[in-house]
């Protein structure tokens, strides 16, 4: 049986070199990525919800509305398609820069599938995969690595 895997991914970049003019936000010195995915499969509610947050910090580790790009994705690995995605880019928008960018995605979850979330940072070329949420017919969702 082919197993479908829904993956939520989050990507962010440091936003380029330090700027020498005022109308562009400075890059972030630290990022934190927060990403969770929950799956509910009941008689009344079959769905997933994925919450992502990327926070930018300055060199004092204080939150800072800097220049960065971020993406959050929920994908079905079996079909190879993106189920939902959100993007953020404050590298060229001084006035819209924020210290924390949130993305909340939700949709229908199908029985007998497994879901997972993954965090990626293209700057670091690093990624990690979280625990998986799986479901078997007639049972409640459970997690495993």
């Amino acid at each position: 049986m082919r197993t479908a895997v829904l993956t939520a991914a989050i990507i962010a970049t440091f936003g380029g070199a330090a700027t020498s003019y005022a109308q562009k936000a400075e890059p972030c010195r630290y990022f934190t990525f927060y990403l969770t995915i929950n799956v509910s499969l009941t008689d009344t509610n079959n769905g997933y919800s994925a919450e992502s947050a990327v926070t930018c910090y300055d060199e004092y580790t204080n939150p800072y509305a800097g220049a960065f790009t971020a993406e959050a994705h929920v994908t079905d690995d079996s079909s190879g398609g993106t189920v939902d995605s959100r993007e953020w880019d404050s590298t060229n928008c001084y006035t819209c820069a924020v210290d924390t960018w949130y993305a909340y995605m939700s949709g229908v979850a199908t029985a007998n599938h497994c879901w997972a979330h993954m965090q990626k940072d293209t700057t670091a070329d690093a990624s990690r995969r979280s625990q998986r949420w799986c479901h078997r017919e007639g049972g409640a969702p459970f997690t495993h690595f």
Binding site: I11, A12, T13, F14, G16, A17, A22, A25, E26, R29, Y30, F31, T32, F33, Y34, L35, T36, E51, A53, T55, Y57, D58, E59, Y60, T61, N62, P63, Y64, A65, G66, A97, D99, T100, Y102, Q119, K120, D121, T122, T123, A124, D125, A126, S127, R128, S130
Partner: protein
Amino acid sequence: MLQSMRRSIVFILVIAGASALAQSANKKPWGWTDSERIALRVAAQTHRAGGTITAGAPDSARSSARAATLSPTQAAPLVIDGRHSPELFMPSQLFGILLVAAGDADLDPARRERLHSRHQAALQQLGWDQEAFWDSLTKHARMYNGLTRAARRNRSDATSIAICRTRIEALRDMRERYQHLDEFLYRSIAPDVTLATDQKDSAERLAWLERGCQ
């Protein structure tokens, strides 16, 4: 001479970090002292292949293309995976993450519900009054996030230091109220978080940040 001394200090820190790493199997992530944690982190920064701070291969052509547009210094940041190496987070970093989350949740009922729900089990396990905990934290978060937002981008060093100090004072206050606060931070906050940075922090710098930038 100075360079030689610096090398010696780094070597000592690496040894201390390696020693700390060797003990890590028996130690809970919240059981480390600040100085042990700093030594471990500096050692991990020096030896990135140690497994605690990792850089993987490009995951896709898209990420490779994006990485190629970055400068060399930006292409080699450090990544701390809170699920695998929570002990590498400094307590004030985790607490700062919690303050930001609590402050933003204070402005959005749906986000607040998700945040509280996410940590409900851990708070229950610690036996804390959940409402009282979030109330205390939210008061600090309002002050911290208020200062951060008021400072905007062109903040002075003095302002940045004041924000940093506020975070540490809030951490101290919450530690006094909740004896096992660090356990909560490392058990419930760290696993959901990854930290990436394009700079290596010296031991002195990490200690300075942990003292509230003083």
